[in-house]
């Protein structure tokens, strides 16, 4: 169905190009039956707002700044939609990675927080010697009376994923947390349906329009 092909650029990105192209297509395919519909460019603006920057944070840290940076990460994570127990879990995990960087990674590090798809991702980068004996992969916490060794295990246990890049020039530990699904945007869904059901074929489409419902919306 041609309409689906028209709508896809919206779903794939937020560039102005596809919206403009569809809008001009609407003009060419103007039919009485479509005049009551909002212009597709407006539909695009409703359905797919600007890229979400909530949850983005990028900062260098040393021991003195860890607590304040954890608070900043918590606020950004909340803004990105993380709540309740997962938010608390994430805060502890981020804390553990920062502590590791300060204690074992040369006394300082860099934190990068971002939203990637449905996930909140936090990279903590340090310039320490890395794990000389390979990256540890404990299956459980150390015995109760052990003084240390819980940090990385906690970070891994409390998050949905943890990746460790162990290099001679430093270590990057990346943790992620799946963000809760946002409530459906009814207007956006309706607008998308309007596009997929009725959008006309574009001039310059790679494939010529096929017979079928395509014919119904062309002049």
């Amino acid at each position: 169905m041609a309409g689906v092909r028209q709508a896809m650029p919206y779903a794939g990105g937020h560039t102005a190009g596809p919206a403009g192209a569809v809008a001009s297509g609407h003009g060419q395919g103007d039919t009485p039956g479509m005049t009551a519909e909002p212009a597709p460019s407006e539909i695009g603006a409703v359905a797919f707002p600007a890229p979400v920057l909530a949850g983005a944070l990028s900062r260098d840290f040393t021991a003195d700044g860890i607590t304040a940076l954890r608070h900043a990460v918590q606020a950004a994570a909340r803004q990105a939609g993380l709540i309740d127990e997962p938010l608390d879990d994430f805060a502890v995990a981020v804390q553990e990675l920062m502590t590791n960087a300060v204690r074992h990674g040369g006394g300082r590090g860099r934190l990068e927080l971002r939203v990637s798809g449905d996930n909140l991702v936090c990279d903590v980068i340090d310039h320490g010697p890395g794990f000389r004996d390979g990256v540890p992969a404990p299956s459980g916490p150390p015995p109760a009376e052990t003084l240390g060794g819980r940090g990385l295990w906690l970070a891994s246990h409390l998050t949905d994923s943890m990746l460790i890049s162990n290099g001679t020039g430093g270590t990057t530990v990346s943790i992620s947390m799946c963000l809760p699904a946002a409530p459906p945007d009814v207007a956006a869904v309706q607008a998308l349906h309007a596009l997929t059901d009725r959008a006309p074929a574009m001039p310059g489409d790679e494939e010529p329009p096929s017979a079928g419902d395509e014919q119904e919306v062309r002049p």
């Binding site: 021991a63 003195d64 860890i66 607590t67 304040a68 954890r70 127990e85 608390d88 879990d89 805060a91 502890v92 804390q95 553990e96 502590t99 300060v102 204690r103 459980g140 916490p141 015995p143 109760a144 009376e145 052990t146 003084l147 240390g148 819980r150 940090g151 295990w153 906690l154 246990h157 409390l158």
Partner: protein
């Protein structure tokens, strides 16, 4: 520097209660370790740490509590963590130290 935690010490005969509040992370750990070591050293029987008002702990805080527990036991004293709740209780639980530090299940 802003402190995100506070403490209070109530001594009663041969035992004492150290009540902590706020967020206990690496920044607070060293000071609290010294504080607990001193109380263990000067208390004859039992040191209790009340965590009811603590809202955040990390592995550093756990290390401090475990170290105090070991020091107390090595010198014939009791060291008991009480009233951990919410996420603090969860972190103590998943790391496997809750049973050792809070033998009373109602802690």
């Amino acid at each position: 520097m802003i402190h995100h935690w506070r403490h209070r010490i109530d001594r009663d005969g041969d035992s004492c209660i150290v009540t902590l509040s706020g967020e206990i992370d690496m920044a607070a750990g060293e000071v609290i370790a010294q504080l607990l070591a001193q109380e263990i050293n000067t208390t004859a029987s039992t040191v209790r740490v009340d965590l009811e008002a603590v809202t955040f702990i990390d592995s550093c805080a756990i290390g401090v509590l475990v170290e105090a527990y070991r020091t107390a036991r090595a010198t014939g004293r009791h060291f008991i963590v009480t009233a951990a709740r919410g996420h603090v209780r969860k972190v103590l639980g998943v790391t496997g130290v809750l049973t050792a530090l809070s033998p009373d299940t109602s802690a």
